[in-house]
């Protein structure tokens, strides 16, 4: 295998880890409350803009930007839960889709209105230069994003499976009324789930802001990436999202390299439709 191909695959894995991170937020909310957040991609977009603002106003890099973006988005997640989701969850399907879709537009075009439609970007050396490793060249910003995303996604999995908080959340997901009878507040658990899900998007956004183009409409593409990841990994499954995210990162990079950059999104979307046709329960999940 040529070095270039290895390079492309490694790049895909690193980006895929970030996809896995924000997709695990979507899969958590979907699995727990059976609600699809159509604004999920725009949450990531907001994370990117928070990081950008932190850089332009305070000159801070990801060390400051990433925690701040996580915090801001987690707060937004809780606000969105109490102001909107809690009520539309019980409503008809149309209300659920309209509610989060309207939120997506509101966020996307508020940013558009404030920052304009221009492509923004962070300085290339904000994290550090480029490492050469066994013939591979890896940008420090991508390496940082990939590694942090991988660790946090894995941590999220441990949180859900190994802690009492995780068990409580799973109990609410299983049967909210029964959980309530056991002394667990569904409202609190669901608000925490939204905080985690939105916080994950904030972190992911701040991480990819270092090397991605920053533009208000980027959320649309990222939302579809998250849908593909979740449908591939099986809804509600964080390990599924991790595997699927990495896979999609690699597929995207490879198709960008082999077929051409403009077609990489098409390949991912077609893959998504293909999965909806033949295996709607995902690679690892069950319906």
């Amino acid at each position: 295998m040529s070095f270039v191909l290895v390079q492309v695959i490694v790049g895909g894995l690193l980006l895929g880890a970030v996809y896995a991170l924000f997709s695990s937020g979507l899969t958590l909310v979907w699995g727990m409350m059976n609600i699809v957040n159509f604004a999920h991609g725009d949450f990531v977009m907001l994370g990117m803009y928070v990081a950008y603002v932190v850089y332009t106003l305070m000159g801070g890099g990801p060390i400051l930007g990433a925690p701040l973006a996580t915090l801001v988005l987690a707060t937004l997640g809780v606000v969105v839960y109490f102001a909107l989701i809690r009520d539309i969850m019980k409503g008809p399907m149309l209300a659920q889709i309209l509610g989060t879709f309207g939120l997506a537009l509101l966020l996307r075009y508020s940013v558009f209105w404030w920052f304009g439609a221009n492509f923004l970007s962070m300085p290339q050396d904000i994290v550090g230069g480029t490492y050469a490793f066994a013939g591979l060249r890896i940008e420090a910003s991508r390496l940082l994003a990939g590694v942090v995303a991988l660790l946090v996604t894995f941590g999220l999995h441990l949180l859900l499976t190994r802690t009492s908080l995780g068990s409580k959340m799973l109990a609410v997901a299983e049967d909210a009324t029964a959980a309530q009878l056991m002394g667990i507040r569904p409202d609190t658990m669901q608000a925490i789930a939204w905080a985690i899900a939105a916080g994950a998007t904030g972190l992911a956004g701040a991480l990819i802001a270092n090397f991605f183009y920053i533009v208000p409409t980027v959320g649309e593409t990222l939302a579809i990436v998250a849908f593909v990841t979740v449908s591939l990994g099986g809804f509600g499954s964080v390990p599924g999202a991790l595997v699927a995210g990495l896979l999609i990162g690699v597929i995207e990079s490879l198709s960008g390299y082999l077929i051409g950059a403009v077609y990489k999104d098409i390949v991912v979307y077609v893959l998504f439709l293909f999965f909806l046709w033949f295996r709607p329960q995902g690679l690892m999940g069950k319906m």
Binding site: F101, L105, Y109, S110, I224, I266
Partner: protein, 323 residues
Amino acid sequence: MRRLLWLSVVAAVAIAYPLLLSSPFQQRLGALVLLYAIAASAWNIVGGYAGQVSVGHVVFFGCGAYAAMGSYAKFGLSPLFGIPGGIVLAVVLAAIVGVPTLRLSGHYFSMATIAVAETMRLIVTNTDYLGAAVGLSGPTVPRNIFDLSFLSSLPYYYLFLVILAITLLITWWMANSRMGFYLRAIKDSERAARSLGAPASRTKLYAFMLSAALTSVAGALYAMMFGFVDPESGLGILISVKILIMAALGGAGLLFGPLVGAAILVPLEEISNSWLGGKGAGLTFVVYGAIIVLIARFQPGGILSLFKRRGKPGVDTGASHAP
């Protein structure tokens, strides 16, 4: 009887509007309201009556728009000849998307429709035959009346009025046919409807295909009025969003809901665009987003559902009642 009276009042106002308010801006506004009302009424069949929220309806709109402009730009025919082709294309595409996703829960359907629309936009943007990012143009100078290329908005207004009337008639007929009863049952509880023998998947698919066909006609009319189509105006996700919001604001699943929604939102957008200029485009969609969130949160049945309680409950429309 009372409804017949209301209906004739609405019809009379619609016919008289461009003659009473006859400035070019007002006539154009009227035509645009009717055009979006056609598209939103078409969406209403699947999104309102069948309760399947398509967020990618622009793909059918684009089928019509590209077929109409293509028949002129590629074959030198009147754009009218593209309409049947656009309908066939839209119906086939609807079947391809609908067959797998309509079996699944509604979220999958919404996500799949977005993905299809975005895929089509990307493919068309990269296809030179379809004009790539520039798009296709219609006749600049009409060769004869069948090119449907007019300077004034007045002929478009009446053309759109006729098509809207036909669309609403089809919707009304569908809502009161066996299919309409099936759809209402499926929307209330698909499991119950299935267990009583209603062919759920097939009925939803037919509704989707019918809706796609009518949306394609709206797309063709849009392209004829503007004289061109490009990937943004013919396949951009924002067109889907506009269509969907208009129907939901007026009242999804109500016959006249989309018309009411279009009559509110089209003037709002036109006026805010002319006041705020280029900067207004972003702000318009901020307002759109806020409106959808508010409808979803407080009045998921739309504006018309506020008035509905006064009439006989549950007549003819199968409105979306909050459970």
